[in-house]
Amino acid sequence: MAVTIQRAKVEWKRLPLSSNYAVAYAVKDLDVDVIAAYPITPQTTVVEKISEFIANGELNAEMIHVESEHSALSATIAASAAGARAFTATASQGLELMHEILHIASGLRLPVVMSVATRALSAPISIWNDYSDLMNTRDTSWITIIASTAQEVYDSVVQAFRIAEDPEVMLPVIVAYDGYIMSHTYEPVLVPENNEPILKYAPKNYNRIKLDPERPVTMGTLASPEWYYEFKYQQVAAMEKALEKAREADKVFAEYFGRGYGLVEEYMTSDADIILVAYGGLFGTIKEAIDMMRQNGVKVGGLRIRLWRPFPAEDVKNALKNAKLVVVIDKAISYGARIAGPVALEVMSAFYHDADKPSILSIIAGIGQRRITEETIKEIVDYSRKLLERGRIPNESLYWGVRGVRYE
């Protein structure tokens, strides 16, 4: 379906916002009806800000105070089932506590949107960033966007509601970003003076099947073995559709508001021998490092995975196919796997059946917010070049920066 939209006349104001506040502003501008959430570091200020908007009368919404994240998502689901535009936010242990309800939201095909300020998992307790919490949601049938700037966080939440509520998709969406590194640092963000164009871009879908006493339906049914599989396949098909719809949503967003991100972001990939693949705020550091290395004549580029689920395999392959070596930096560990980086696994499987493909190296870094600087990236690239010269790429993840582990 071709959509032609002219550039909207939007008056933007430039505000200093953390990514958490950017989420709250997006929720306000999307006129969300119901928010249910439980505070957890580093997500708390999202909901604090939304509460402020409600108290000020800037947002007309119901804020449900619950006693746990399990209840937070349950209440959000119930609101969505009743037809409301519903939102929640969490991180880390909170996301883990929601886990069974994640499957229920997607299984019931409810267009809930949730922001996740990603954080490491206990034990030991870490309130700092990595993507272990988010990667555990990989198989829950939630569409997942990972943003890398506060502006992109705002824009992605707006896109998320459009994708989620699309009648051909009807799946929940997570918008994730780095806890602390992004959730608590301030960046200039453009937000509109009034939200009319935002609602025109992402209109509320009130025509879906909902819990309505006038037209009763049953949700949360039981499906015996001869029925269950078909409903799971519906989710597979909806995810396929979501890839197309997410692409369209970003394209229309770019036409309408003048900002677009694509499903992946390429940086100096066209002539690069080595391409670094990453996600979230780390990509900013990688771009800086690439600029520095390019000055020294190193042909290195970067690729950011913005849409994680559904995985845009073709976009990824197109960006990477001419590289000699692809280095995937994961901020999560799949314990017990030889390739323990979830995104590295995905990139490898995208290329598996191709005869002509780049070598792929999996690196684990930034676990529990172990610092990754431009220097770290340069060291990783230096080591990768050494491996390329030796012509042997290890078929197992390298755990970069662990004390006591050295790669020669």
Binding site: M170, V217, T221, A223, E230, F231, Q234
Partner: protein
């Protein structure tokens, strides 16, 4: 029961939502049964305890007069809806005159 052609994934409402309410009567639970309750109309005294206790409401009061071998006249007959009877045996247990037999289902 003969295998029916069930609808394909794209012919079903998304999310396993039941759009038409009150359709649990369509669910065939009769094939859960291992033993089948059978009423002996002659022994039955129409006390309706089975009708009260049945968790699946399978006892139907049918407008068919009945005269027992001892000459006792009843205005109605009791019948069992075997499409829904799961064979739990509660009626067999509760019947005060042992008028319900419990017969093993034989294929």
């Amino acid at each position: 029961m003969a295998a029916k052609e069930l609808p394909a994934w794209n012919e079903l409402p998304a999310g396993a939502i039941i759009i038409e309410p009150g359709n649990s009567a369509e669910r065939y639970t009769g094939d859960w049964r291992v033993f089948r309750p059978v009423i002996d109309q002659d022994k039955c005294i129409r006390c309706l305890l089975c009708w009260v206790y049945c968790p699946d409401s399978v006892f139907e009061i049918v407008d068919e007069p009945y005269v027992s071998s001892k000459g006792r006249k009843y205005k109605f007959t009791l019948k069992i809806d075997y499409y829904h009877c799961k064979g739990c045996g509660i009626c067999v247990e509760e019947c005060p005159v042992d008028a319900i037999d419990f017969v093993e289902e034989v294929k």
